[in-house]
């Protein structure tokens, strides 16, 4: 009567620390340039090496510019941080996919794509969106820099076992409704703290029917409900996606691995600490109106009124609407948009570019719209070109940039100016997230594309 979460977690417990957390063994550590330099400094200060360097993979993504990557980074502070990761990887003997390396990209896009993230693993990274890797059936979660140092030093972390929660979404998603809408819908129902303290297993027929790209998007956003991580039990979709990937097992090893992976599921009588069920038919294309990802509504809906908000949340609600320049109760359709961003670890995969292209094909980018289309990795960019999507996008007035985190978090040149509205496929609409004063509206690639060709917030179903 164990949950899949129990099975994977318990299989990785080295020991239970007296009166405290579990010492958990980690199969894979990813390091990016922002949250690792102080951890490597810690190793140097203690005079120690990495305990299991072969289990650790490094790549810069947050600071990398999305054009001109063949030239040195202009911002000296960004350059120093990116250079520090390369130097640390070299000093400690770790694999490093530097800028312009054909394997470089956003860490949460590259990991699954290289077959480095596999079912049944424990995976961590100093980044809250590490939950993405849960889509392959792994227990994956974000950690702080001190914890990165723990894994570098011992391949373990000390961690209190979270409680388990199952979110089932049953039924069939309607036309124009994507995994991103599913996640934004869940957040709007559960709030940004609704799953805090829990590790989430996503299940139900609507989840099962998602492609691997859709599953990666859904699991990516687990942290935005407060969950430590979220995952989906592996199935034929998972195996088909992983087969033949660079680091996936081969030949007989593959067959053996798949046999073992097929056993990775919650028992029929497994008991979850919390369980919720939603219906896919209730989900419409979503968009956010406020300054946390839980402040979302159907794109053809309205901003809530004060009466809809619990008393203790009203100060934050008023502050958010004031920041966004919206009024309680107003309609969002037809509101002008200045920027559109397609990309990030949330929606920077091939399927997202296919979706965006399907809307803009035969149409033109609206005048005045600045659009950033940023593949999650070089591999995604190569696939865009192989499928000829670049031609479709260019014909509509869009250009494809080079991979990186881009406008998701304003650590590189792609920043939204103060006061401007950006329909963004990224994961956070916090104040200033895309640049000081920027106003972010989170949505799916389809909704972003609809805004890009009309210049206003538009229901993508009208263009399909």
């Amino acid at each position: 009567m164990n949950t899949l979460f129990d099975k994977i977690w318990d299989a990785h417990v080295v020991q239970h620390v007296d009166g405290g957390p579990d010492q958990l063994y980690i199969d894979r550590l990813y390091c990016h340039e922002v949250t690792s330099p102080q951890a490597f400094d810690g190793l140097r200060a203690r005079g120690i090496r990495c305990f299991r360097p072969e289990k650790i993979f490094c790549m810069p993504d947050h600071n990398t510019p999305t054009e001109g990557q063949d030239r040195p980074i202009e911002d000296p502070v960004s350059k120093k941080q990116v250079d520090a990761l390369a130097a640390n990887a070299a000093e400690f003997g770790l694999v490093h996919y530097g800028m312009m390396d054909p394997d470089n990209g956003i860490i949460h896009v590259v990991g699954p794509e290289k077959g480095l993230s596999l079912p049944g693993m424990t995976i961590v990274c100093g980044d809250s969106h590490t939950s993405t890797h849960g889509a392959v059936g792994a227990v994956a979660f974000g950690i702080g820099t001190s914890e990165v140092e723990m894994v570098l030093a011992s391949q373990c972390i000390l961690q209190q076992k979270p409680r388990s929660m199952r979110i089932r979404i049953e039924g069939k998603l309607g036309k124009g409704v994507t995994a991103k809408d599913m996640a934004l819908y869940l957040m709007s129902k559960l709030t940004t703290s609704g799953a805090t303290g829990y590790f989430v297993e996503y299940a139900g027929s609507a989840v099962r029917s998602l492609s691997m790209e859709g599953r990666l998007t859904l699991c990516n956003l687990s942290i935005e409900m407060g969950a430590r991580g979220g995952f989906i039990a592996p199935d034929e979709t998972t195996f088909a996606y992983l087969k033949g990937r660079d680091y996936a097992p081969e030949g007989e090893d593959w067959d053996k691995a798949v046999e073992a992976w097929k056993k990775l599921k919650s028992d029929d009588d497994a008991v979850f600490d919390r369980e919720v069920v939603y219906h896919a038919e209730d989900i419409r294309p979503m968009i956010t109106y406020g300054t946390n990802p839980g402040m979302g509504t159907a794109v053809d809906g309205t901003v809530p009124t004060l009466a809809d908000i619990p008393a203790e949340g009203r100060t934050s609600f008023g502050k958010a609407l004031n920041y966004m320049g919206f009024q309680p109760g107003e309609k969002l359709l037809g509101k002008p948009v200045d920027y559109v961003f397609l990309g990030a670890c949330t929606n920077g995969r091939i399927e997202d570019f296919r979706a965006f292209a399907s809307v803009v094909a035969g149409r033109r980018k609206a005048p005045g719209i600045v659009a950033w289309l940023v593949p999650g990795s070089w591999k995604v960019r190569r696939q865009i070109e192989e499928e000829g999507l670049d031609k479709v996008l260019e014909a509509a007035g869009f250009e494809i940039r080079q991979p990186g985190c881009s406008a998701c978090l304003a650590m590189n040149p792609d920043k939204v100016p103060a006061g401007k509205y950006c329909v963004s496929t990224s994961n956070r609409n916090f104040e200033g997230r895309q640049g000081p004063g920027s106003r972010t509206l989170l949505a799916s690639p389809l909704t972003a594309a609809a805004a890009a060709v009309t210049g206003v917030i538009t229901d993508p179903r009208e263009l399909l």
Partner: protein, 196 residues
Amino acid sequence: MKQKFNIIESTCVPLPLENVDTDQIIPARFLKATTRDERFFGENLFRDWRFGPDGTPVKDFVLNDPRYGGEILVAGRNFGSGSSREHAAWAIAGYGFKVVISSFFADIHKNNELNNFVLPVVVSPAFLQELFDTIAADPSAKVRVDVPNQMVTNLTTGVSEPFELNPYKKYCLVNALDDIDYLLLQKEKIEAYERK
């Protein structure tokens, strides 16, 4: 910074807002530092709420209000949500806070605080509201956080509440030991696990 925790008695800085995310605690552009300079992060704690775009202090933000100060930050529900950036905990520690009191913390940030010798104290919504009211009525009001006895007290009203802290973390805080010190002593057990 590693330090030993015992009893902390201090005035408080109130931040009665919910869902304060780590992007507000320390905006992303300050994450480019490659060293763990807590003073730098502390100077930029709540940067965009605290200072205008031209660097002038925002008058009505609490950290710029001379009436408030102390080693305890009191914040609304769901403090530290969003990004896992430990820089947020470094900024809180670097500013000089030793304790954050709230009715609810985001998981990763809570761990990050503990790993940086900042104590997250979870109190009931009623205790938190009363504390906000107390501080609003008298900014010199003090709170006592007794770590060995796991008890938090509003010294103005005399109301106390126990708070949770697992015995291992308590041992670390009271003795100024961190998790890495502990893990480095576990090599044999880790190797035995790997052979399984």
